[in-house]
Every structure is written in C-alpha cells, then in structure tokens.
Amino acid sequence: MHALCALPFLLLVADAVRDTLGADPVAEITHRTGIWALRLLLVTLAVTPLRRLTGLAELVRYRRMLGLWAFFYATTHFATYLVLDLGGYWPQIFEDVVDRPFVTVGFLAWLLLVPLAATSTKAMMRRLGRNWSRLHRAVYVIAGLAVLHFVWLVKMGKEIARLEPLVYAGILAILLSARVALAVVARLRRPQAPPRRA
C-alpha cells in the first residue's frame, strides 16, 4: 500500500529527471502533487463509509497511512510553490496568501493538516481520547478547503475553463452525503424493535 501511495511521487521524480514534465515543469509538479494530495484525502474520507458498507473492519488500518501520504503530497505541493515556483520572490507569498482567495484556502487546508498529522500516532490517540475524534473531524473542513482551492485556481471565463475541479467537488459531495446517510441509517436502527414472540 505504501508502494502504491509513493508511486505517483516516484513517477514525478522520474519525469523530472528525464525532463518529460513539459514546457512548464514547475507548474506540472505543482499540479501533480496537489492532485494526489486531494485524491488521497478523498480516499481517506471514503474509508469509513466503505467500512460501514462492506463490514470490513481492516480498512480502517489504512486510513492513517492514507492520511499521512495525503499530508506528504500536500506538503510537497506547498514546498514546490515556495521553493521551485516563487524561488527568491518570497515577499510575494504574503501577498498571495492574503490577497488571493484560492491561495488562502489552500494554505489553510495545509495548516489544518499539520495538527492532524502530528496526532496521527496510536500514542496520541490514547493521549487525546475522545478529543482525538473531535480534532480529526477537521478533515471534512480540510477536504472542503482543498476542493475550493482547486475550483478557485482554475481560470474562469463565462464558465470554468476546466471541468476537472468540479468532478472532485462532486466526489466530495457524494462522500459527505454517504456519511450523513449512513449516520441517519445507524440512528434509525438504534431503538431496537421488541423481540418477536415465539
């Protein structure tokens, strides 16, 4: 599973070395690291609904690893923007983060991922107890911010120039409604029907 998560990054490095990233390699690296961060984030969000649907409890084992890989790609994405893209033009960061909404939400999404990554260990789970679940619910907000980041960065004419971000928005909407639906169903099942008389 680790190999699968690492694969996009390895392929990216291979392309970078072979100079097959196209005319604007920095834009391509930024795009690919961002897209895999978003994809892994959505896969992480899909684990719990999948587990409830299939009953396979072992799926949850993968959730932490998927989340951490999403954080890895998000950090690489942010680092690419800071180091490869902006290069020496660091004062521009402040302007971008404050003045351009899509950068603001992207930065916030990454920032919120940091405490989640830091508290991802079993030791932290034990230490935080119930508060751990509360903290990690932030992943919903993070996913929303990440999708917004993608939707807002794509050029807008009379309509959005590329439809790709809307696909991810749709997937997130499905995942979130799946959670709501499953929660509703679980609540409906709770008041046990009295046992049938023999």
């Binding site: 390895l10 392929l11 291979a14 392309d15 970078a16 070395v17 072979r18 100079d19 097959t20 990233l21 196209g22 005319a23 604007d24 390699p25 920095v26 834009a27 391509e28 690296i29 690919r32 490869l84 893209d85 902006l86 290069g87 020496g88 033009y89 521009q92 302007e95 971008d96 003045d99 351009r100 899509f102 960065l153 050029k155 807008m156 004419g157 009379k158 309509e159 959005i160 120039a161 590329r162």
Partner: protein
C-alpha cells in the same frame, strides 16, 4: 532624446537547427534506459510534446530579415512553443491544441479587411502578406497566468498591411475576429468564452512598429497550435491579446469588445498592458516563470517589467493615461 541602439544578434549566434531540435531527443534517449528500471512501466506523461510532424522549413520563412526589435534573450525551445498553448478553440488544456489541431487545415484561408477603409476586401492569406518583406521578430510573450516565453516569430508589421487598405479618418480602433467553426475547432463547443474569439487594439497600438501579423516561427510556417495561418503578436500586452487564426480585421470607430474582457471583466481589461503595478485578482503580475533555455525547475522566476520590457518603445502611447483604471 538619446538614440537607443538595439542589439542585433549576429548570424553566428544562431544555434544550428538540427542541434536545437534534437537536444531533447538526445537527453531523453540517454536517460530513458537508466530510468526504465526505476519506473518499470512506460507511462505517457501528461504534457508530452506534439507528435505531429513539424512544418518543413520554408526558404521564404527561413530567410526572413532580422530586426532591431528582436531580443537577444535565450529562446524557448520549438517543442515547448508548439506544445504548450492556450488556444481554447481546441480545448482548455495546455496540451490540447497540439493534440486536437493536428488535422486542422490552415489553407485555403481568407482574411477579410473591412470597416473604415477605402479599400475593403477579402484576401487569400498568402496574397495578403506577399507584398511585404517577412521579418524575424524575437519577442517576449507574457501570459497573464504569469509565465512567459521568448519566440522567434516570422511576420510583417500590421501597419504595412493596414496601410494598403487605406484607413479613413474615422478609424479609431482595429477589431480582430477568429474563425468560428465547430467542426474544425471542437473546443468552441464549450462556452468558456463567447465564440468567435474577438480582440481589439487602439489605432496607434495597431500602427506601432512592434505590432506584427505573424505567419511563421522558427524559420518555418506557423504551426496549428500557434494560430495558423495568421495571428497577431502584440508583445507588450498579455498573450490573450495576440489573437490567433484571424479571419477578419475591421477598422472601427468605437472600442470593440474583446473576449476575455466580456467573459471576466474584473480580471481582464481592454488594454491589458503587462504591468507589475496593476493588481490582478488571480495571479500576482510582479513576477513570472520564464520558459526558455537556461531556466528549468530551479530559478525560472524573473521580475516582470512594465510593458513586458518594451516600455521605452510603447510607454509614450499611454502618456497621461491612468494605467490602473485603463488596464
């Protein structure tokens, strides 16, 4: 005013064509074997250069006259120039025009000259350009998305072409229109912009010696992804002003509509002069990523210059004009 001498590159500085075009092939071949083991499978990268055959070098284009207006900065690779394009008529991805414009027929092609001129008419594109000497203009092209290229265009001054049509005194602006054909330009099926693509210049901008109609690049005919057979190049403005695939040039009295301004007026103005001091809601315009030889993954960002570095030549056109209000 002191006389400014523009640097003219000597012919000895021009890289042999074979070496220039083969560079990437050599690099790729050398590393492909080594990395094949690492990657395992051969994956097609998202932004691979176009595989369509490049237009053959035409002696007329190859012998285009050099120009004092050309820059001596490192040029952008031919592969990059022809495979990384914003030409939404063929799709909104950067690699789409190279992919989808492969079969596009750029001949026969008619350009209509109309409006406030004494000699309107429809001209075959080659006949339109034939009376004028082809020049090579190595220009910076700055996209509003904050990346830029250096491209050796082959073309003629727009002023020369317009002069033959004899504009009247009522001609205050020049309006350009691109082909509108859903069969030949499948990207026009999406409504990102209103079609056909339209652009416009003030008459003094159109008559400026820097403004050209380009019919070629890198010593050969203009490739399809770059706006074949004929396009505008206005190097001191953002790239979307350099309209491609022109079918009509009209001299008009009032400021004409322009596609990006119509679609997103908060982001794109009429003048669209490259200006690091004018705030853009989407991208900072203070700097740009240069796509050219010598700039790769590291250190490709450079400062953006007012009027894309052509201020000395064009700033007088806007003397007294508020550049922020009229952006």
């Amino acid at each position: 005013m002191p006389r400014f001498r523009y640097p003219t590159p000597p012919p000895s500085e021009i890289t042999p064509e074979g070496v220039f075009l083969g560079r990437r092939e050599l690099m790729r071949g050398a590393l492909a074997a080594a990395t094949a083991l690492v990657t395992g499978c051969d994956r097609e990268p998202a932004a691979a250069p176009v595989t369509a055959p490049a237009p053959t070098a035409d002696p007329r284009y190859a012998s285009a006259a050099p120009s004092p207006y050309s820059t001596t900065e490192p040029k952008t690779d031919y592969d990059d120039v022809t495979s990384y394009n914003n030409y939404y008529e063929f799709g909104t991805g950067k690699g789409d025009p190279a992919k989808h414009a492969v079969g596009f027929a750029a001949r026969p092609w008619t350009v209509e000259i109309a409006g406030e001129v004494e000699a309107p008419g429809r001209h075959d594109v080659d006949t339109l350009v034939a009376p004028h000497t082809l020049e090579e203009r190595v220009y910076r092209l700055r996209c509003v998305e904050a990346w830029s290229m250096v491209i050796p265009w082959i073309g003629v001054p727009l002023a020369s072409v317009l002069a033959r049509a004899r504009p009247t005194s009522r001609a205050k602006y020049v309006a350009f229109t691109t082909l509108h054909d859903l069969d030949r330009m499948p990207g026009q099926r999406r409504g990102v912009l209103d079609w056909p693509y339209v652009e416009g210049l003030r008459i003094d901008e159109a008559m400026h010696p820097l403004t050209i109609l380009a019919v070629g690049l890198y010593g050969r005919e203009l490739p399809n992804p770059n706006g074949a057979p004929i396009r505008l190049v206005v190097p001191w403005k953002y790239g979307y002003k350099s309209i491609k695939g022109i079918v009509k040039i009209a001299l008009v009295e009032r400021q004409p509509p322009t596609s990006w301004n119509e679609a997103a007026p908060r982001e794109y103005g009429f003048y669209s002069n490259v200006n690091p001091a004018v705030r853009h809601p989407r991208w900072s315009q203070k700097s740009e990523r240069r796509i050219a030889a010598g700039s790769g993954i590291f250190g490709s960002r450079i400062a953006t210059l007012p009027f894309n570095g052509y201020a000395e030549l064009v700033a007088p056109l806007y003397a007294g004009m508020d550049l922020v209000e009229f952006h």
